[in-house]
Amino acid sequence: MIEERKPILEVKNIVKRFGGLVAVNGVSMEVYPGEVVGLLGDNGAGKSTLIKVVSGVYHQDEGQVFFKGQEVKINNPMDAINLGIETIYQDLALAENLNVYSNIFLGREKLKKALGCIDVLDHKYMLTESKKVLDRLGIEIPSLKNRIKMLSGGQRQSVAISRSIFWNAKFLIMDEPTAALGVAEQRKVLDLVRTLSAQGVAVIIISHQLYDVFQVAHRLVILRRGEKVGELMTRETNPDEVVSLIVGAELVENSKK
């Protein structure tokens, strides 16, 4: 079913070098609308580098990036955001001293006229619009006037996700979304990923937690030493196979002896 549709993102033969080190070596992959792809690999496998090429932090040395079928040049993070590619980093990039809706509108505040000529913040509009997007995603936060400082890790993650969705992200990259969360909160974030997927948003998840990735991802892409060593449908594989790809089959064989 998914295969019939056109990929929303396609990267072809991406190469990224840092001096003599080849961090990503000729990796190709595609992601379809509404699909959740788990990007797996050991430390230094090139996951983050590949993602940073897509999100505009790095520029590839070779290879092409296609978004919605068009070749795109992503020179900086704002280019990516303008295309509809949002990245949620581990640190979430929230201003903890501001409240929920101010963070959702950060940098793109809604203004209104006071006394007919002065631009002031339109708190009411930002509050109601933020509430709408949170409701749509089934996120519960006691009050959107609470500062981020007062929220739990999972709630913060939800705010970061809502922010990108509010600004019409069609493609979401999540770097270790569950790493810092408790079990109940992890489940909520994974539920949220499923909701996003059901609403047609494509998601790439980078994670070390195989269990989480297996729960939500449709497809897995495994990198090792900068190269793609496997691409598997989640339902046709198992964690053992994936681990052997991540660390290299020989190593697994050796450890069994």
Partner: protein, 362 residues
Amino acid sequence: MSDENIRKSSGINREWPVLIGKSWIYLFLLGEIVVFSYYGTGFFSAKNFQNVMVNSITIMLLAAGEIFVIISGGIDLSVGFVMGFASVMSAKMMVTFYTLGWNQNLAILMGILIALLIGFLPGLLNGFLVTKMRVPPFIATFGMYGIAYGFSEIISYNVPITKLPPGVGAFGNGYLLYYLPGKLLNWFSQPVGLARAEIRELVPVIPNIFVISLLIIFIFGFILSRTRFGQHTYAIGGNIDAARRAGINVDRHLMKVYMVSSLFASLGGIMYVLRFVNGRADAGSARMLDSVVAVVIGGASLYGGTGSMVGSIIGTFIIAILETGMVNLGIPTFNKYIYVGTILIVAVLIDQLFPELVRRGD
């Protein structure tokens, strides 16, 4: 969920401390007024409170600029000597134009405008060093502290600039309103043709320079709390990377923030000239500490991200009342520094020990 439950279950026990913690600066201010009114002579009088207003102007202006910088996560140590620089510049210009035979009002206006224009420069340079050159704010503005002082001394040849046009003092020490009980009411200037006894009875209401300062501070308080500029200032102080990734032009914003600070320091210098009818390099030297303390008492964190203009004004009055009260009681004013320093540390301690009380006036 769980947070909320905790808060609810312990609500009754914690409500009072929270309320006191949030409003302790108001209580402290009230306490000061009560104590000085009780022990002092004529402290609780309209005349004395007008004195407090005049005394508070310098700290209030410096604090109004400093609050922007501190909320953005920086600090501006140069304000005291930038103020001195502006006072010397404007005084020098007023004297120069006046001796050239200009109309005195025009000479005064030009002196003020030139000081304001040049007053942007230290801020521009501070902002440039902090953002483009990645010099820590502490160092950049500390350097500017010395540079501004040096230039002021060069311009003034190491002596206060005097012989200003007479209109300076008339305006600077004038009041918004003059009121003769039961007889007459006059705006802006002392009524003419009064008997000597009547002049003695005349009640001046609210110093001119206090009104002007408060008006400008009100405008910038509005900018800080209601506009996108203010919101971005808070965001940068809260998480500079988040602000960058949200597409805020952080460097340009910080340059503006340092320029606001330097603008207020220059206003401080101009008000000094209007009030004391001279311009001197060390006009605001001791006031930098006071302005930072006023801002911190008012709820700003030196780590950035919190603070408010109203808080800074209350902080200013806490210091100004203290000074005036000590003079009233005949306590040498250098004792003030001990109290001010102590208040600063207590304010920071309260914020650190009870983080849930962190105050931020919206």
